[in-house]
Subunit: 421 residues, 2 copies
């Protein structure tokens, strides 16, 4: 079929099965369940392998074929009519934070699987293959960096560097991957960076905007840019009882004044700037000793490169202006420019949401995703659905079955449409 | 002899030997030396026992007698003419912080020993015995609380509680004390709280005031009061990239605003208030997660009980006023009222400094000392000498031989004068 699929019995989205989709979420949620509603299913653990085995079993029941690349990215294919055509790829990840939720990543994988199943049940023959992908180690909780699998796939991270990465116990990605592949075997091998016609990723928003504005579908236009800084402040330890305040060089107070100065720099009535001091450590961290050393991190994000440059370039000067006689070192540890997704794909998402009468709005992703790496390779888009109060990376992460189904219907329409281009 | 001793060949202060005093400091500094100029000689360690053994050897060479009480406080006696008279006691401690200096405590012990030696060499017969004391575990670095030995001596801390205290490795005071006493044996036993005619403690100031004002002798009129608080702030963890700032409950920012509010509360043009936030911890302490929980401590000191009450009683309200939607718990963990030393003893210190033409000034101790516990038992005083830039609890702690000798001369005069009352 070609062109916009009608919303009817024979469309792929009409064949999306909300009940199956939800029960698959529940099944995956049992793997690594913490007993407090969340999961601990970190990358390349036995739990991660078991979740992959479950998806492989669902795929095998349909006769879909599976393959894996050298960093463990797992692909499940529903064949197209043209074996030479590049696939439309859709997916996300199954690994979680140590106290993770049941939707971050999982939804994108299960939605993509549902699209393949729905296409099968609706007997829709696409020209291009439909590939489901499960990226390795998106979270970066056990092995840094985040989005490891998609970064290696896209050539942004050398395979050897990724394989040599160690977890906190000294286990390498290489060793953990060998174990995970042995536990969830996939015979076929896939190269990195094979031609992809388009990449789609469905995901919970991980923020509160869709819920607060009553939207069901977030048409993700891109991923905001990110700059990270590490600030070290060195003052002088002194006795809390004896040293007059005027003679102190208190690294903690200096760091606090720096943060206050940065808050003023980053003040934004539109609430678009994301400015976070998440790590903050002091030494000697003793109640009766004036702090001699403080360390803090800055996580600054914005969708617009010029704002990222203008404010980010002033971070060091603001810190220095509030040093209170302390020494200060500011290092920029990460600079990730904004990513723009394909306007064509975004247009297809909007049109599909429109056809399904779903309230939708454009949104910039605050979090990074595997889609960031794919955006340099092919037309890429993301579909967000709401999550309760924006809570994510948290065992309390929640999304409604109806929203997950709605997002999957939009994904199905867009994937099938692109697979016929 | 009675009355003020003349400053001449036969006075005790004239017999003070600055060279011996200084070389004894150097000898003690070798025990537990870190190689960076400081010492690590924590309470009841083999190093602490070795330092005591050295003092016992110097005392034995003079024929002074030694005794020890059940918490390990060590007494060295030069007999008086009246065996029934209560002694004048002077001393301090030999234990140090993990990165401690060579004068904090040590000076008070060696100055007291020098007084006994000088009295011996000047052939001065006092009516009362002169007792040197080495208090156990003043620093509280290995075993909490600080001033443990003098607290038990004065009845402020039950012996059983002190003996059951464990260090970070699970070793009890009881076990460590048995080892230390075996390594530095003292056969004679002494009861707690025996009658003391007066207590004198010489000490480095541990603050910058004497040096800054050109004074050699600080006439310590008392120890300022102290209130400690522990503040726990609970917000909500959120994704740094997705959660708009207006919707966050950032425990780190709330804690910082509380500290700023407290700084405004504690603002004091006279720079008498001591206000310190020394411990500050956040969770999850991750660069890209909004802080969900912050904990900090407040160390607030002032010489005047009414200021201690007025400002201290407002701490909780100020914290609550800056909670930014977070939950806050404020607990007062310590409330130590100001200690006033004996005006009579202070008068004798002033007079002695005057006779020696030493610049002196009244001063309130910012730090706590063993003298705090003695002040409830007997007329008590302290003599401060300057230390470089006020640096203490630090391997860079420094005091000049001339200032140490000057403080010891004043101590000698006052001790001998009180020993003839």
């Amino acid at each position: 079929m070609a062109g916009s699929p009608p919303v009817g019995r024979t469309s792929v989205s009409a064949a999306v099965n909300p009940d199956r989709l939800w029960h698959r979420h529940l099944a995956i949620a049992r793997i690594g369940a913490t007993g407090r509603g969340g999961v601990n299913r970190q990358a390349l653990t036995p739990e991660d392998a078991e979740a992959r085995r479950q998806v492989l079993a669902w795929a095998a029941a349909r006769g879909f074929t599976a393959s894996v690349d050298a960093i463990g990215n797992l692909f499940v294919r529903r064949a197209g009519s043209d074996p030479a055509a590049a696939p439309v790829v859709s997916g996300s990840h199954l690994d979680t934070q140590p106290t993770g939720g049941n939707f971050d990543g999982i939804f994108g994988v299960l939605a993509a699987l549902e699209v393949l199943d729905a296409a099968e049940e609706a007997r829709i023959q696409t020209r291009r293959p439909l590939d489901l992908v499960i990226w390795t180690n998106e979270e970066g909780a056990r092995f840094q960096p985040t989005t490891m699998g998609s970064a290696v796939f896209a050539g942004a991270l050398p395979l050897a560097a990724a394989l040599d990465t160690l977890d906190g116990r000294g286990v390498s990605v290489k060793a953990a991957l060998a174990e995970a592949l042995a536990a969830a075997p996939v015979p076929d091998r896939r190269p990195f960076g094979f031609p992809v016609a388009a990449y789609l990723e469905a995901h919970i928003e991980q923020g509160p905007i869709l819920e607060a504005t009553g939207m069901t579908i977030g048409v993700v236009t891109g991923i905001q840019g990110l700059r990270w800084y590490r600030v070290e402040v060195t003052g002088e330890e002194a006795h809390a009882g004896t040293m007059p305040l005027a003679q102190r060089r208190d690294a903690l107070l200096a760091a606090m004044e720096m943060v206050q100065g940065l808050r003023e720099l980053m003040a934004d009535p539109s609430d678009t700037v994301r400015f976070t001091v998440g790590r903050f450590e002091v030494q000697p961290n003793s109640p009766n000793t004036v702090c001699g050393r403080a360390l803090f991190t800055i996580d600054f994000r914005h969708p617009h490169p010029q704002v990222l440059a203008r404010l980010g370039d002033r971070v060091e000067a603001v810190c220095r202006a509030h040093a209170r006689g302390c020494a200060v070192e500011v290092a920029e540890t990460l600079h990730s420019p904004p990513t723009a997704f394909s306007p064509v794909v975004a247009g297809l998402i909007r049109a599909a949401a429109e056809r399904h009468s779903l309230p939708y709005a454009d949104i910039v992703s605050g979090a990074t995703h595997d889609a960031k790496h794919l955006a340099g390779l092919c037309p890429t888009g993301m579909i967000f659905v709401p999550c309760a109060r924006g809570i994510s990376h948290n065992e309390a992460e929640r999304a409604s079955p109806a929203d997950l189904a709605a997002g999957t219907r939009v994904l199905a329409d867009v994937v099938v449409e692109l697979a016929n281009t």
